[in-house]
């Protein structure tokens, strides 16, 4: 059995009286220490999949097993426990706490994890050093560039030594050069053995992936189908814009 196994995943959102199927019959396996890129246009359900894998939401049906533990039957406090111990999130919008300096943002998740204060401070310093921010420990997020903020977010994601890092369009708010820098750090983490699942619609990230999952309209599709469809989708998007 793989490190992460999702079987027959289905997720339906209720929008008023209407039901929106975000995920339909998704089956994926993710190996330990892999770098999985989930590709798809907006609305394809890729973020929903990521949140289900991270225990932030529950599937409508189907099962998710991570390291032998089934998520779909967990109570909300068990899911919180799972997120705390096993998952590190990186978001497109960074989501740093504006009043906390960089080091406090990295310490923040450890506060929920009963790590002694001396130890977590040392750990936060080491993590920020890893992402090249050892001279920015006491800067507030507003005093940091977007790329630096995202690096703080990566350090924060690593705080509780998670088994998986889930990144939701981590380069979406950054220009190409800075985005590449972020990808470089994530790649480095993968080479150190971290399992990474990254959601994006940016095909330039594909070369780093050990596995690519293509998604369209809530389903996983083969590469060929994706590529033939994506030009259509792109045209539609341009029309809308």
């Amino acid at each position: 059995m793989s490190f992460i196994e999702a079987r027959n995943l289905r997720k339906v959102f209720k929008m008023g009286h209407q039901e929106v199927v975000a995920l339909d019959d998704v089956n994926i396996s993710i190996e330990r220490s892999s770098f999985t890129v989930v590709m798809g246009p907006s609305g394809s359900g890729k973020s929903t999949l990521l949140y289900l894998l991270g225990g932030l939401d529950k599937p409508t049906s189907g099962s998710i097993v991570i390291e032998g533990t089934a998520l779909e039957n967990m109570e909300s406090h068990e899911l919180a426990q799972f997120r705390k111990k096993k998952v590190g999130f990186v978001f497109q919008a960074f989501h740093l706490i504006p009043s906390m300096p960089a080091i406090e943002n990295v310490i923040f998740p450890m506060r929920f994890n009963n790590i002694p204060s001396q130890k977590r401070r040392e750990r936060a310093q080491a993590l920020l050093q890893q992402v090249g921010l050892s001279d920015r420990l006491h800067h507030l997020p507003t005093e940091l560039s977007g790329g630096q903020q995202q690096r703080v977010a990566i350090a924060r994601a690593l705080a509780n030594e998670p088994s998986i890092i889930l990144a939701d369009e981590p380069t979406g708010n950054l220009d190409r050069k800075i985005g590449a820098e972020i990808i470089h750090y994530l790649h480095k983490l993968n080479q150190e053995g971290h399992t990474i699942v990254l959601v994006t619609h940016d095909p330039t990230l594909l070369p780093l992936a050990t596995q690519v999952i293509y998604m369209l309209d809530g389903r996983t599709v083969a590469e060929d189908d994706y590529l033939s469809n994506i030009s259509l989708v792109k045209a539609e998007e341009q029309e809308k814009a």
Binding site: L56, H77, A80, A93, H95, S99, F112, A159, N160
Partner: protein, 437 residues
């Protein structure tokens, strides 16, 4: 999540929205300041009202007089030999001594004939009171001069009597005489008895003044204390009859309680024996219960503004939760449990309440001090105009318990106001929260 962690997270969250915390906290400041000021004012008034009852030792005193039966009250007037009269007989005294909490029972007898007290050419008005103790320490008088000891021919004089000698032969407009130094000097007690034929006989007793009391604005100011056996013999001489204590009893008793709180119960028990007992503690208790009601009333008025402040906190927190959906999602994503989220948001609301409370205590206390200063100036002016009575030292008094209670109350107000917004934050689905942007 440890309390310390919780506090530092709350600190960072409040720090971020300084102006909002300030404005919302201001409501709490006004609320708790008005509670503190209102209750301080009624506490101050209470202190003013009870302070005239003086020292704690005064509150231990129970004064006992012969009791008049119900029949007598309705009949109006009465004589000392009426059967309805309950006199202070030795058997009742021994019962009183057995009452729980009674420390000491002092017998008192007044000189019941006409008499004057003279020193040189001067005279003063004073009541001659005989007591059955040689050492007056149990009465806990404050002495201006001398010792609390009486004996054969040695008396103690009250503060007012000692300072109010007049010249009975003074002409109109003549200045009051200079007051004599009485300590260790002899005063003359001139007792007059009128015989059945109308002929007056005088008896002159010399008393050395062994001690002079400080003025206490109490009945002792007007007394001269001597031995009870002397008063008894003078009374017997004046009336020509032997006194039967089992029938006539004593004039009065002073019962000293071991503890202030026991004096009311002692007085009530003595009253049930048919005697009349009175302790200033009873009045103090009455005043205290009146002021407790006043304090609650004043406090409730102040609490109305605290209620308004509570609505302000609830409003701010609701807004805050709505604005911070992404942050709530993040907190959940990094592993905070629902309880952690609840505690963080309730903690923030409590923090606003606490900070407002601290500010309110400060403002309320300062307001009280300001009021005291204004009042002091006002009373000083009144005193210059010649309005009588000693002015109260303060009119606003902030007790320590009030400061603690106001702090706890404000924090509690924040906590309660924050509960529903915090619950809303807790119930927010993390994904919905994160997708908000």
């Amino acid at each position: 999540m440890s309390v310390l962690d919780l506090l530092s997270v709350i600190f960072y969250n409040l720090k971020r929205r300084k102006d909002r915390v300030l404005l919302t906290g201001l409501g709490v400041v006004i609320g708790s300041a008005s509670v503190v000021l209102m209750v301080s004012l009624s506490s101050g008034l209470q202190r003013g009202a009870t302070s005239q009852f003086g020292r704690m030792s005064d509150l231990k005193r129970v004064e006992v007089y012969p009791g008049m039966g119900q029949m007598m009250m309705m009949g109006g007037g009465g004589g000392e030999n009426q059967p309805q009269m309950t006199t202070i007989t030795p058997s009742l005294i021994s019962k009183i001594k057995q009452i729980e909490g009674v420390d000491e029972v002092i017998l008192q007898e007044n000189l019941k004939t006409s008499y004057t007290i003279e020193f040189g050419r001067l005279t003063t008005y004073a009541s001659v009171v005989g007591v059955n103790i040689q050492d007056l320490s149990p009465l806990d008088f404050i002495f201006a001069e001398g010792k609390p000891k009486i004996g054969p021919g040695v008396a103690i004089i009250g503060g007012w009597a000692a300072k109010n000698f007049i010249n009975p032969n003074a002409k109109m407009g003549q200045q009051d005489p200079q007051q004599p130094q009485l300590l260790d000097k002899l005063v003359r007690l001139i007792i007059t008895k009128s015989g059945s034929d109308g002929k007056e006989t005088r008896k002159v007793v010399y008393l050395r003044i062994g001690g002079i009391l400080k003025e206490a604005r109490s009945s002792q100011d007007n007394n001269i204390y001597v031995r009870i056996e002397d008063v008894t013999s003078w009374n017997e001489w004046a009336s020509g009859k032997r006194i039967n204590r089992n029938k006539d009893g004593y004039d009065s008793l002073v019962v000293i309680a071991k503890e202030v709180k026991q004096s009311t119960a002692i007085a009530e028990e003595i009253n049930q024996m048919g005697l009349m007992a009175y302790t200033p503690q009873m009045v103090v208790q009455g005043i205290n219960s009146f002021f407790t009601v006043l304090q609650i009333f004043f406090g409730a008025i102040g609490a109305i503004s605290l209620l308004v402040a509570a609505i302000g906190i609830a409003n701010t927190m609701t807004m805050s939760v709505l604005e911070r959906t992404a942050e709530i999602g993040l907190i959940k994503a990094i592993g905070a449990s629902d309880e952690d989220v609840l505690r963080i948001f309730i903690g923030e609301a409590s923090g606003i309440g606490f900070l407002g409370g601290v500010g309110g205590i400060l403002v309320g206390w300062l307001g009280g001090q300001l009021l005291n200063m204004v009042a002091l100036v006002y009373f000083a002016k009144q005193a210059l105009k010649g309005a009588g009575g000693a002015p109260p030292e303060t009119i606003v008094y902030t007790p320590l318990w009030l400061i603690l209670a106001a702090g706890i109350l404000s924090t509690l107000v924040g906590m309660i106001s924050g509960y529903f917004p915090a619950r809303r934050a807790m119930q927010m689905a993390p994904v919905a929260a994160l997708k908000h942007e």
